[in-house]
Symmetry: C2
Subunit: 347 residues, 2 copies
């Protein structure tokens, strides 16, 4: 089968790899029909994070179940399914607590999953806990599937930022970052009832999507000016701040625009060396909560909204490629030509 693999900074290749096989009675094999390229993939693509050369890539799989191990009960061959970026058993202390990213039996794709999602097929460990089944009546509706695909990661991650920032009805929220996660954060804040959502970013086309997603204000300035603008719009800081980047500058912005006693939700894998954000955070007595989104915990609720037509994150996909063109997809995201790239495989 064909699979995208990493061969050093800037180099993604489509290679022939052995087809995955069931290795455990809890495994399922899926034929991937849709997947995506993630902003977090750019960290290794840009050489800013270690990644084993030759290893498969991708962690946002959707597809059709081909085969299941004998202990798999929740899905069966022919089902349309998707999986979060984290594998989870659904049974341990942390899964039961809704914190599937801390599953004691699971892990992330790659080392634990035996493969990457940017491939024709994928072995899914702990299939009972990991896979989310799309109800049959929507299972072949292409538009619905494209709206569901972001639930594998970015939509649920934006939601986790909003939940971590304690956004509720009538609130004012500031969303830092106009990447796919930030845009989904805007959707999530609106969905949780925020009355006012201020999107902060640097790209006009993305801030346009933010407004389409419900942002009531946008701040496109940089640095101290952006902080001043956001503080002026919120009369001294917002009680709910979604930090959707994970860079030093965005963490500092978050700490400076949060209102004393407010809440920062942060969900971008932190790539930060300096603790400069800590002093303003401390003096504002703001809570700072987040981590890898427990997507599996949120998946059904978010799916309900997508299926009833009240949630549609698919506009974040501004480019679509087939599997052969995955390297082009990485390049487009790296050069910010695309917000997020969908990978569609032949069905």
């Amino acid at each position: 089968m064909k699979a995208a693999t990493y061969h050093g900074p800037g180099e993604i290749r489509i290679e022939e790899r052995p087809e995955p096989e069931l290795e455990d009675p809890k495994d399922a094999i899926i034929r991937v029909t849709h997947t995506a390229i993630c902003g977090s993939d750019l960290w290794f693509y840009r050489g800013e994070e270690e990644h084993e050369p030759g290893s498969p890539v991708g962690h946002e799989p959707m597809g059709i179940v081909e085969e299941v191990g004998e202990e798999v009960r929740h899905v069966q061959p022919g089902d349309r399914v998707f999986a979060p970026f984290a594998i989870s058993c659904g049974e341990c202390e942390f899964c039961r607590k809704g914190l599937h990213t801390s599953c004691v039996n699971g892990g992330f794709w790659g080392p634990h999953g035996g493969g990457g999602a940017q491939a024709e097929k994928l072995r899914v460990p702990l299939a009972n806990g990991t896979l989310v089944r799309v109800p049959e009546r929507y299972a072949d509706d292409e538009e619905t599937l494209e709206s569901l695909l972001p639930l594998t990661d970015v939509m649920a991650t934006g939601h986790h930022a909003a939940v971590s920032a304690d956004v509720g009805a009538g609130d004012t929220a500031v969303v830092i970052g106009d990447g796919a996660v930030g845009l989904c954060g805007v959707l999530a804040a609106k969905r949780l009832g925020a009355e006012r959502v201020i999107a902060m970013g640097h790209h006009e086309d993305r801030l346009d999507i933010a407004q389409e997603f419900g942002a009531t204000d946008v701040v496109s300035a940089r640095g101290e000016e952006a902080v001043e603008e956001a503080r002026a719009l919120t009369n001294g800081g917002a009680n709910h701040v979604l930090e959707c980047v994970g860079a030093a500058s965005s963490l500092e912005t978050a700490a400076e625009v949060v209102r004393p006693g407010g809440n920062v939700g942060y969900v971008g894998v932190p790539h930060v060396e300096s603790a400069a954000f800590l002093a303003p955070l401390f003096y504002s007595n703001a809570s700072f909560t987040g981590g890898p989104a427990p997507v599996r915990n949120y998946a059904e609720d978010l799916m309900d909204d997508v299926l009833q037509g009240t949630l549609d994150p698919s506009p974040i996909f501004t480019k679509t490629v087939d599997l052969d063109r995955v390297p082009e997809g990485y390049r487009a995201m790296d050069e910010r030509e695309a917000v997020k790239v969908m990978v569609k495989l032949d069905e």
Copy 2:
């Protein structure tokens, strides 16, 4: 009057200074009877924090009201009072929210207070909001006063750590740091109902006080070994961690001993350059909450417990000096001869 003043690292002098006078109708003048030296004073004493040479020091005042401005209603001359390390109006958005350290009208002693608490007299701005009155029947009971004195800062700060770490009945809490704040954190966690309190520190005499204060376990190892020990004691991490130091190493320990989905409360002014604590915190999806303790918000509740005899933080005072011996008090704390030094002035 005599007052302690700072003259560069390691140098505290007792100098003659002009007596404070009412400058505003909301001011009160108090004659200081008790005060203390704080671990946070050691930052500037050690030259690790900027401090204006010649400026007065101390921020934990207790005393007798001598004179009040015409808008002061809550206290009157002759009252025994104490004040938190922060001045607060009691009327603004943040004071009403219980976040007196973010008071828009107040601030910290020194620049805003026109003086330091390690002095014979002190002008207290915003006296209605700032001062806490000791009920008359206890106002001259020396033992009670010494138990109340830590409420000016460290006891309320330890309490803030416990509140920020969301400690409740039946919980297991880890307290990092065996300084005065950490020891008060142990008391606070027990007071909030923690069933198990694990104190982490490096000084046997202080860990003895922790046990006297209710710690059920102590961890005195350092670095990775301490983390392993705490994780073993909690079967993989505690849901409630009180970070009571503010150093890089203690923040890292906190991030490593918190259970996934748990809560870290941090209250030591962070003196941290590296963001190394952030990755473990992120991957555990732990909340991280804290800041300068809103002492004024907690003062009445904590005082009730002291007055009814169920709370007594006074054993943290392992040395007492008079005003003239304040420089010796700093030295004793700097050299860790004393946990915390009480300063008693003539009445």
